[in-house]
Structure formats: C-alpha cells, structure tokens
Symmetry: C2
Subunit: 456 residues, 2 copies
C-alpha cells in the first residue's frame, strides 16, 4: 500500500460544499423545457406550484444561476452523515492485480442506505419553509421513501408514502424502516384515492405499478390542504442537490493531488450520475479539464444506448409533463426479474442533453455480470453494494482489468451510491445461480418508439 | 451547536491502536480459571489446542501480558473500516433538551453491521498463520457468522457456519450475506454431524438451539483435518481483540480534551462491554481515573442483576468447560420473544470478576422501553440501531434526562455496537404495538440455581 493516501479520505465538516452546482448555467445547449401535456407549451411556475414546493420549482426552471447557497439548516443536517468518505480501493486493486488506482465515493453510510437523502432533506426543508403540513411520494424499491421519511421526521413534516403493493408485501423491512421514522406507508393501489379506487375496480387483485403509485401520491398532494408532491430522481432540482457528491469528490482529490482519468456512475433516472459527474462535466464545459466519463446502465433498460432522444411522457399513465430525453417509450416496462432500481424508461433532461452533446459515454451491462462484480467487490472491500451501484463497479473493474493488460496506472473514480442490505433476495438469486437478464430486442423497442408523442 | 467539537470525530489511520489491551494484567483479583468439566482441573493449552487455534489459546490463558502487538496483516484489514467514528449526538441532545453532552462510538459502519469483525479478523488471521484450512462456528442472530465470513474470505479460509434452524429459515437475508462472502451455512441440527443426527432422530422437526449449533460446530472442527472452532463472545481473547474500541475512544476523547463522566455499554456475553469499557477500567484499576461505568442488560436475561457468581457450564448441553461467572443457570433459556442477541445465560469471566469487585454497575432494562429509546435515537441521529445496542441507548437517555432535571452538563459516552437493518421483524413488532417482555421471577431462577454444579 502507498503510504501517502489513506484507505479512506474523510474531509472535515468545514470542507462540506456550501453551494449546490447547477450545470445548466455552464451548458451552451440548455436542456429542452418540460412541456404542459395539454397545451404543449413550456411549463411555468404557475403550472408547477399547485403540485410541487415553490422554491423547488424555481430551482427546477432556473437554467442560469450557477450556484445555489445551501441553507444552514440543510448544512447542519448534512453533518449527520456527510462529508462521505472517498475510499481508495487498495484491497480491490490487489484482488484484481491491476496497476490502476481505484477510488470510490461511498454514499451508503447512512440509514437510508443511499445518496437519496441529499435531496430528500432539501425538499423537506423547502416544504417546511413554505409552511406546509406534509409531503407525499411514491416508492418502489424503497430507498427514496426511506430517505424522505428520515428527512420529514427531522423537520416535523407528515410524510405519506405510496408503496407499490408487490414491494409493500415483498419488502416488509423497507416498509418498517419508513414506519420507524414516522411515515405512513400505504400499499398502492389503495382505496384512499380516486385513481386508486378506479384501478382496484377495474383490476381487482393487481399488485400495482410505479405509475399508479405516482398518480396516487400526486392526487393526495393536490387534494389535501398543505401537502405537496416530491420526487427522488429525474428532476433538475434533484440533480442540483446531489452535486454535493461530486463537489466533495473534487475537494478530496484536490487535497491529495489526485487527477482522475475515468469517472463512472450508474444511471436510472439520473440523480446519482448527475450528482457525481456534473461538477466534473462543468470543468469540461468550461474548458478547464478533460475526463473520460462513463455512465453504466442496465442492458434490460438501456435508455441511453438504445433509446431515442425525443419528447416523451415521464410516466406510463401519460399524465405527467413531456420531457425531451433519451427514452425507450413511456409504455416500455423493464423485465420483472430486474433486481433493484434503474427501471425508468426515460432519463434526466440535463443528462440527456449532455449525452447528446458527447460529454460522456454510456455502457449497458447485464445483470449477472453486475452481480459477479458486486461479489468480487464485497469480498475485497468488505462492503455489500446495492445492485444499482454495482453497475458502476462492473465498469470500474472492466477498466481496471484493461489497465492490467496494458500496464497503465490509470486513476478510476466511481460512485458507490448505496448498500445492498435490503436487496438480498436478488443476491440469493445470484448465489443460487437462478439469475438471468431479459434484454429488449430492437423489434420490441421499435414498437414502443412508434407510440412516442409527435411533438418536435 | 458548539463550534469546537465536530459532529463526528474521525481519527487518522496512524491513530489506530497498535496493541490490544489485556485488562487481566491490571486486575488484582484475576478471573477464576476455566475448569475441565471431567477433571475439574484448570484448562491447559493441551486441553484447548485440539479445539481452538494455538496462538488464541495462549491469549486466552495469559493473565499477565498487558499489551499484545496487533499483527500488521490485521492492522491492514482494520483500515478497511476503522478507526470508527466517535459521534457527538448533538441532534439527540437537542431532541431531549438536555444539558448533557452525549457521545457514541459507532461500531456498525461495516457490512457485518457490528463490532464482531474486530475479533473475527484476528481469529481468522491466527487460523491462517497456523496453516489451517478453515474454521467452524455457530450463529444465532447472524452478526458473528457474517463477520467471520468476511474475515475468512479475506484470508482464503473455508468457513462453515451452523445456523440455528429457526434463524436460518426466518433470517434468510443474514444467511445470504454469509453466502455472498463465501461461507457455507448449514441449518442446525443437520445430518452432517453425529450430534445433529442424534438430535434429529430424537426430536424430528426441531427448530434447533444455539447449544446444539455449538455442538455441531465443535464436532465438525475436531473431526475434520485442518479445522478449528472459533467463538464470537464470552472468551478472554475476544474481549482482548475488542479493546480497539475503547482505546480509540480514549484517543478521540484525549484529542479534544473531553473527560467522560459516564460510560455505558450493553452486555450479553461481554464482547461489546469488555472491548469498550476495559481500557477505562484499566485506568481505574491503576488509580489514574474514576468513571461511572454502567452495563445495560435485558430484564428478560438478567445475568448480572439477578444471577449468581458461581462456576457453571458455558453451554446448555453441559459439555463445555466450567466458568466462574454471573449465571442464571445453564438450563435457563430466555423468553423466545426476546429481540436480537443478549440471550446468553452466563457472562465473560473477566467482566464477572470486575463486576464482583465493584468496578461497574449494571441495570436491567425491558424490551419495549429499549425500542422506544431506539426509535427516539433513530429519528434524532439518523441511524437505525441494533436492538442489543439500544439497551445502552436506553440507559444513556435515562442519564441525559436526569441531567435535564438537575441541570448538570455531564459527559456521557456509550457504545453503539451495531445497526438494526436485519432486525426489522422486531421493529415491526414494536411499531405495531405487539411487543412485550417476559421477565423471569425469582422463583423460576431459584429452580435453575439449584441445578448449578457443585464446584467451589
């Protein structure tokens, strides 16, 4: 082991970022605006304010302000679990026998188990500041719901989580964490909303879907005085809040004089990749540096590598705004045997534009290969990674093994966005050799592309 | 918040303890020796070597060496997850409105989820050094088995875990973590051992017991060439390895000029309390300092507060050595509705002697009160605690609330030995209001005391 660089680089609390970085301010080609699905006109604050918190809507629509000050109350909460460590993966390097220098930012060292808490606490803060009583949201795998429960209880806000019924029943542990943090968790579809009752009537015995849970959460927010709806990924505001990740990485690297060659993040809706990579992409946009940035996406839901860059609905139910993004079509539903998250058919509009403009590349990876990488990582580094994060691990290991062949000592940095303690059903499938992956064919995808709304 | 003391105190890797501290060297009244159950003579290395690793047996019997150097290979592994943070519980203090200053050492920030890894890696190292092929052990709740799996895979040792059958079936997630780290996990009783086959024959359909799993693990170790048995608590060697906890706390407190008034740890077999508290007890024994040290034990398994200080079998099956300890009787089995660990009828011989000599006090706490404290802590500090550790939280909150009444700003330090991510069945019971506690009556205990072996 090198003496100079410790196994874990912990910044001091004074080194916490004081501002969120808005990459849109540095983009020449701004992300295309969200469109009102009725009028096809760009969404305005007036459209958004009945559903989302006002201050967050300003952040959502602001393409120009480069830095937003992080309010003191949020900074104080961040100190509960931040700065998160940047880990030098000495043990993984040794296990691989690579000359590459591998680092990972570890965002899983909090009870929500992922980076989601970075935006949850910001959204809860602005809801409280607006004088609201509570927030509503949906959750699938449960990481976002857990993070929001923790953030809401901190500010004394009520938190109503609609959890897809099959997850509610199959993941009772996630549900109990949310309840322990004071959230009410309702299996969706439920009879507490009009949309839920309608679905239950038409499809008795349904196990629910994320689209349906979103609709119930939105209806509950707009029909209850003092409630707003909040969302854990995809939105510009979420990417903004998540830039504490990338900024901390920049500070830590600078402190030790480390210059990364390759940066890797997994991507579903974009909150993790956006938060980790856009501070570095900003350097590239400003001509200050050049990096090879790689997004890792699942081969079973390959939005970047197989999708179209077009306006599409953000939800299966086609009631949400239209976003210009890489999409597999709003009617595309990834194979049910996909483990964990990264199941969204679309992508953040910011990341979509940056990808279109060639700021980073993307690789699609298959599930069994991802879990193989996850187990290699776990045994070497002693941390059980989330399936989502393990997509980034897989690419990092691939790149490190290339270095082994060429003898190059490249510096690879990836984001370990979460832990896998609540994903052991998936690990069980992998350990038992019963895991596989269903990859959509080009013919299937053409079917969904044909249903894209005609906007451009 | 005070400016001077950060939320989390992280020591540097250079500040890791380089030696384990053996409190026995400072004790005037040494712990009574383990006795061979056949001869009633003190156990010798010759008795122990066929079952346990040689170097560990030397540590077990050594009452005189004050410090043992930690081998470099173990120090290197410790850097994977140590030094662990000492957290100032600012958020909990605020939630309680107390003038007390509360700190906790957080030992749950690794994938095993507890402090158990500190001894697992040491035991795996000495097994490897002895040229062994593998180790065997038993696990109930699964924390020890997980830690040993992680340690064994690091040194390329085979790891055979016997898991009590009811836990194997009810805690499939713990089992999968162990499998992910390469261990073989066998539900006990099994047909892989003589003792297992005998039990299955006599009690078909039994869900197993810890006593039975111990017997199977020991039989497997002694009947397979190149295997030894290892244990995660109670033993002197385990307390020795765990002193990295207390020594790190001492270094962190010293660095910031903090003088603790009250130190609190939970106790089942003693590994957590021993590791956390004996470095401070050493200061007391040497006349260098004075602390109020409080052990927290479950009211349903109250070894210290209701037990007898006497020689007793360490196992229900009465085949293990006799230990002089605080015991409820080897036939005492705590109520099945006890959540988590802390179920052992006896106690570490070291801690038993120290308690007998008045070096610390002990309080028994009820399960529902423990979970109430756990939820208060989780909501304030953002970490879901293990049920075991929450016994210490309960006492810490009690002491902090006393300070609120008296206006004293005492400094309270407790050990948060683990996280509760795999204990959500217990949290579910608490959240649903269906948790209770079964506390043994004095009459019941007299029955078990009457069965104590006549040795002294």
């Amino acid at each position: 082991m090198e003496e100079k660089i410790p196994y874990k680089i912990y910044l001091s609390e004074d080194e916490l970022p004081k501002q969120w970085y808005n990459v849109r301010a540095d983009m020449k080609n701004k992300p295309a605006p969200l469109l009102n699905p009725g009028t096809l006109q760009p969404l305005t604050l007036e459209d958004l304010n009945p559903i989302f918190c006002e201050e967050l809507n300003k952040q959502e629509l602001d393409n120009d302000t480069k830095y937003f000050d992080i309010p003191d109350e949020i900074l104080s909460f961040y100190k509960m679990y931040r700065p998160s460590p940047l880990v030098r993966a000495y043990f993984l390097e040794k296990a691989l026998g690579t000359p590459a220098k591998i680092y990972y930012k570890f965002e899983g060292n909090n009870t929500s188990g992922s980076h989601k808490l970075n935006s949850a606490i910001a959204q809860a803060y602005y809801a409280k500041k607006q004088g609201l009583k509570g927030v509503t949201t949906e959750t699938g795998a449960g990481q976002w719901g857990t993070a929001l429960s923790m953030a809401s209880t901190y500010f004394g806000l009520d938190c109503k989580v609609f959890m897809v019924k099959c997850s509610y029943e199959q993941k009772p542990f996630r549900r109990e964490v949310m309840r322990t943090f004071g959230a009410s968790v309702t299996p969706s579809p439920s009879n507490t909303t009009n949309v839920g009752r309608k679905i239950l009537e038409e499809h008795p015995g349904t196990t629910g879907s994320l689209g349906c849970a979103i609709s119930e959460a939105v209806e509950t927010a707009v029909s209850n005085e003092g409630y707003r709806y909040v969302l854990g990924s995809v939105l510009n505001q979420v990417l903004l809040h998540q830039t504490v990740i990338g900024q901390e990485v920049q500070t830590a690297l600078k402190k030790y004089g480390i210059k990364p060659d390759i940066l890797i993040g997994c991507t579903g809706g974009g909150s993790n990749l956006g938060g980790f990579a856009t501070p570095f992409i900003g350097e590239m946009l400003r001509g200050e540096a050049d990096y090879k940035i790689i997004a890792a996406e699942p081969a079973s839901c390959p939005s970047f590598t197989k999708g179209k860059f077009a306006y599409d609905f953000a939800d299966t139910g086609r009631i949400c705004p239209l976003a210009k993004m890489y999409t597999l079509g709003s009617q595309f539903i990834p194979s049910a045997n996909r483990a964990g998250g990264l199941r969204f058919h679309g992508m953040s509009t910011i990341l979509s534009q940056l990808y279109h403009d060639g700021l980073f590349e993307c690789r699609a990876v298959e599930q069994t290969e991802v879990f193989k990488a996850a187990v290699t990582f776990a045994r070497a580094e002693g941390t059980l990674p989330a399936p989502e994060s393990s997509h980034a691990i897989k690419i990092a290991i691939d790149e490190a093994l290339k270095c082994k062949e060429t003898g190059e000592a490249k510096t690879i940095v990836f984001n370990l966005s979460g832990t896998g303690y609540f994903d052991l059903v998936a690990y069980e499938r992998y350990n038992s050799g019963t895991m596989d992956d269903v990859i959509p064919t080009d013919e299937e995808l053409e079917k969904y592309f044909a249903m894209l709304p005609k906007v451009d």
